[in-house]
């Protein structure tokens, strides 16, 4: 299987969020996803970039966000990595719980999980890596 990989190192700014979303949308369209799936992939990447810039790197100009896209025959694999303190997954609330429903934040990871087929979050002391996969044409991948 032939894989194509491209990665970007980006500043911790709002422009990075918009740029990540645009790039994801373009690459998803090139990979053959339909308009609705392109929107979902772009939005998932936007939310991941928001987490990396705001919550991970906290807009620190000395910290970067790494965005990588890998396209295989079956999947579009996207990785967003920050250089923050590492996301504490135990503190990520369930936004659908009645007590959280009217909160004004905390829906980003939920939306990412809703829009992508596979989502893995790997926090460490040197940052958080969020890896997400969208199967091309909804194929199940057994490899």
């Amino acid at each position: 299987m032939c894989a194509e990989r491209v990665s970007y190192t980006l500043d911790s700014t709002l422009e990075t969020v918009n740029s990540a979303e645009e790039t994801a949308g373009r690459l998803a369209a090139e990979a053959g996803f339909d308009d609705e799936e392109v929107m979902k992939i772009a939005m998932a990447v936007r939310e991941a970039a928001v987490n990396a810039v705001l919550h991970g790197n906290a807009y620190d100009p000395g910290k970067k966000v790494t965005l990588a896209f890998e396209r295989t025959k079956r999947d579009l694999v996207i990785t967003v990595r920050d250089q923050g303190k590492g996301l504490d997954l135990s503190r990520v609330p369930d936004p659908l719980a009645p007590e959280n429903l009217m909160k004004t934040s905390g829906r980003g990871i939920f939306l990412i999980r809703s829009f992508m087929d596979v989502v893995e979050i790997h926090p460490s002391q040197t940052g958080t890596e969020l890896r997400m996969i969208k199967h091309v044409h909804g194929q199940a991948v057994n490899s």
């Binding site: 709002l14 969020v17 939005m43 928001v50 659908l96 429903l101 934040s105 829906r107």
Partner: protein
Amino acid sequence: MTMKSSTRQVNGVTIVDLSGRITLGEGSVILRDTVRDLLSKGHKKIVLNLGDVNYIDSSGIGELVSAFTTTKNQSGELKLLNLTKKVHDLLQITKLYTVFDIKDDEAAAVKAFDK
């Protein structure tokens, strides 16, 4: 595309016509400032017309929740009008569709404040 906002009065109800994207940054700030400004001037019957809002992210959803709660806390009422499919679907999956008072007809939305 950035967000644009304009307001008009219909039978004592303020209709806020929004267009573009409600996302982290400018879009969310415009929505927040618009609602705060209306409430500070005593306009407490508010309809957010989202018919031309083609995109909203989690920050934008949070801003809608904030607008709803802030208005309610000031004894006001806020309704949503003309959701696009994208926004409709987002409010469905976040279980907020039943929280907001959502209308698809402006006259009905205005009239609903009389009840």
